[in-house]
């Protein structure tokens, strides 16, 4: 064959082949799936580790028990706080391919979807299932935007918990029940370090755990202070409450491990389990670490509320919602009803290590730790939504808070600069504070 002809034929084959491959791949990605026509429920979440996966599995089991003909497709995308999942979800939702429901933190984390009209209100689900009677007010407001419900909570983790090593604390003769203010707490730290040279009283981890800690300290300054803070009202660069909280944080840091910035939250908790320290402030997902280490509640370890927050419950809440334009709207609603139901919550939460968002849950199903926290949940005066865990303040605020507090904890920034940075951050993003919290 004429070589020129040959090259033209090869060229054409290359073009056709490339077009075929590209077209095929694009079709596979973009073609509407047939799932929409079948009886399917597709949910996205980031619960991939042992206990978490078992928990969502139990919740799905409850759903499948009620709707045996529906196929549940779980898309589990690992990465704590949805760090990997959220960008994927954002892309899917914007492309009009939203799953029937996806995990997110209640409160501000959902507001970007709400403001872009990507969520449907679910007032009917709340009314039909009488949820307002069994879910606390602050949790309700975390599920609302401008007065309408857009989410149902699946669990409650508590943020303001001090975990202590009971044996080490007894060895220095401190009764944990007396640690209700920071002075008593720091005295106990001093006692421990005095009796155990070379050890640090408090175990602390890297960036977000420090911001988590700051948030609890701020709540200990009073619920009105915390409320003002998450309502964006603390914009004075020399605010006395922020300044006092930073003073407490500075004292706190003098009792922590030096390598705090290189430990993950669970490595910090492990320091306490291994008797290297006596206190750790962390949300109650930490209970799982103690269980894995075969530590016994009230024998090896125990819990108190963060000093000054005894009448408060710090809320970290995961939720599901009904995205706009989903393929299976009816299944989406059914899923939300199961998530919010007593059976669903009591199947999910004992395995997850959290408590039910409902005040009528059956606490006998839970770990011994939950007897304490469950009783508090039913009796505390105040509840406050966490900022670090996505609920209490706009993302424009919470996304920077970790770095600001980390700078203070590592000594990169002094108290005055830190207080100013926190105040300016709120002032600069004041337009994003669209929710007015009422915590008292």
């Amino acid at each position: 064959m004429d070589p020129k002809k040959q090259s033209i034929i090869i060229g054409l084959i290359a073009v056709i082949a490339t077009a075929g491959i590209v077209g095929g791949v694009m079709y596979a990605i973009l073609a509407p799936s047939e799932e929409g026509e079948a009886d399917v429920l597709e949910i996205y979440h980031w619960w991939t580790s042992g206990g978490e996966a078992a928990a969502i599995g139990a919740l799905v089991d409850v759903f499948e028990g009620l709707y045996p003909d529906t196929t549940v497709k779980q898309r589990a995308i690992s990465g704590g706080s949805g760090i990997t999942m959220i960008p994927i979800i954002t892309a899917l939702v914007l492309a009009g391919e939203a799953p029937d429901a996806f995990q997110m933190h209640a409160g501000y984390e959902g507001i970007a979807y709400y403001e872009a009209d990507l969520l449907e209100d679910i007032n009917d689900i709340w009314t039909d299932n009488n949820l307002e009677a069994v879910i606390p007010d602050v949790v309700q407001s975390m599920c609302q935007f401008e007065g309408d419900f857009y989410m149902v909570p699946v669990n409650i983790h508590r943020s303001n918990v001090v975990w202590y090593n009971l044996k080490e604390l007894e060895a220095v003769g401190v009764d944990p029940k007396t640690l209700t203010n920071w002075t008593a707490f720091f005295d106990a730290c001093f006692e421990f370090e005095d009796a155990n040279p070379g050890k640090d009283a408090i175990a602390l981890g890297h960036a977000w755990t420090q911001a988590h800690l700051f948030e609890q300290i701020l709540a200990s300054q009073g619920i009105d202070v915390y409320e003002n803070w998450i309502n964006g009202l603390i914009t004075n660069t020399t605010d006395a409450d922020i300044s006092a909280a930073l003073d407490i944080l500075a004292t706190f840091m003098s009792y922590t491990n030096d390598d705090f910035d290189s430990l993950s939250w669970n490595e910090a908790t492990d320091l306490l389990i291994q008797d290297n320290s006596v206190f750790n402030i962390m949300g109650d997902w930490a209970n799982g670490e103690f269980l894995v280490a075969n530590s016994v509640y009230d024998d090896d370890y125990g819990t108190i509320a963060v000093p000054g927050t005894g009448n408060m419950y710090g809320l970290v809440v995961d939720a599901f919602q009904h995205p706009a334009g989903v393929a299976n709207p009816e299944n989406s609603d059914r899923w939300l009803e199961v998530v919010a139901s007593k059976e669903g919550q009591d199947a999910f939460n004992p395995l997850k290590g959290s408590i039910s968002a409902r005040t009528d849950s059956n606490l006998t199903l839970y770990e011994p730790y939950h007897d304490w926290t469950g009783a508090d949940f039913a009796s505390v005066t105040y509840m406050f939504p966490s900022v670090v865990h996505g609920s209490g303040a706009p993302q424009s605020f919470s996304a920077e808070l970790n770095a600001i507090i980390n700078a203070f904890c590592t000594g990169a920034a002094n108290k005055a600069d830190t207080a100013a940075a926190i105040a300016n951050l709120a002032a600069d993003n004041i337009a994003d504070y669209t929710t007015t919290w009422a915590l008292d």
């Binding site: 033209i8 954002t90 970007a112 910035d261």
Partner: protein
């Protein structure tokens, strides 16, 4: 018909056919995206719902009064000042060492180049573990060979964090630079080196006066490559330090990521991307200009 056939020969047709696909892809996924990014940075798109209403240069004004942006920009400059010369010097030293007619040269080449073949995510995790204060390789090693007093808090140290980040980048890039320089050294005619040797040039003089001056082209190429990388480094620092402690290792791409994907400030994030693009152009345009002029 005949004349057109003569102009557009069959060879040309097949060339055009082959080129059409890559050109279309490049236009769509690179040039249109760059233009689109600039458009977004001038729009009022803030939140998940795209909005392209023209808003002017407000985001750019905001950038240059924002402390976080200015800190990131400064950190980027510091990164360039340490990482670029560091990698060039290390690469040159390794190339000179390998040029000493060592045995098993290919084995050494492979060893030095290996870090560059690893993904930045992998090396980020690896070095985070190496630098770990309590159980990290570096501190454990120092302790075990009796140099415990050199124990360090590495990337946790507010004053030195950026330096230790640069060490990782230099470790990863110097093997690649070595290859570029080695090729440069090997392309210098043997006769020149011999002549210098006959004239009595010592080893040091040989490199300082004869070889290095002839490496201008590879040094320039390496300089541009490193500079562009230093401006857009993201993955390694995101994994290694996440920008911390505080903001000490936060560079522009990290700030951009946080603005767009966490805060959903699309137009503000796009403005940062545009600034990055302009900074990279400042480096690349003179390079391209010089390269094309040389070719002519």
């Amino acid at each position: 018909m005949v004349s057109i056939k003569k102009i557009i020969t069959r060879d040309k047709i097949s060339t055009i056919l082959f080129l059409i696909i890559p050109i279309v892809l490049v236009i769509i996924f690179i040039y249109i995206c760059i233009i689109w990014n600039v458009v977004v940075s001038l729009s009022d798109w803030d939140g998940l719902r795209p909005s392209y209403d023209f808003k002017g240069f407000g985001q750019y004004q905001k950038l240059f009064t924002n402390e976080i942006f200015l800190t990131s920009l400064w950190n980027n400059i510091v990164l360039i000042l340490i990482f670029v010369p560091g990698s060039l010097v290390m690469g040159l030293l390794l190339a000179i060492l390998l040029d000493q007619k060592v045995r098993k040269e290919n084995v050494f080449k492979l060893i030095y180049l290996l870090p560059f073949t690893l993904s930045f995510v992998v090396t980020g995790f690896l070095w985070r573990w190496m630098y770990n204060v309590r159980v990290g390789v570096l501190n454990t090693l120092l302790e075990s060979i009796g140099l415990g007093f050199f124990r360090n808090d590495w990337i946790q140290n507010v004053d030195w964090a950026m330096f230790w980040v640069c060490v990782v980048l230099i470790w990863q890039y110097s093997g690649y630079m070595m290859l570029i320089f080695l090729a440069g050294i090997r392309s210098i005619p043997e006769s020149q080196v011999m002549a210098a040797a006959v004239d009595g040039a010592s080893g040091f003089q040989m490199y300082y006066r004869i070889i290095i001056p002839q490496l201008k082209a590879p040094i320039f190429t390496g300089f541009v490559l490193l500079l562009v990388f230093a401006l857009k480094a993201f993955d390694l620092i995101f994994i290694l330090t996440g920008g911390g402690p505080g903001y000490t290792t936060e560079i522009l791409p990290l700030t951009m990521y946080k603005e767009v994907f966490r805060k959903k400030h699309f137009s503000y994030g796009s403005a940062i991307a545009t600034i990055l693009f302009l900074l990279i152009m400042i480096v690349v345009i003179p390079y391209l200009y010089k390269t094309y002029r040389r070719e002519k």
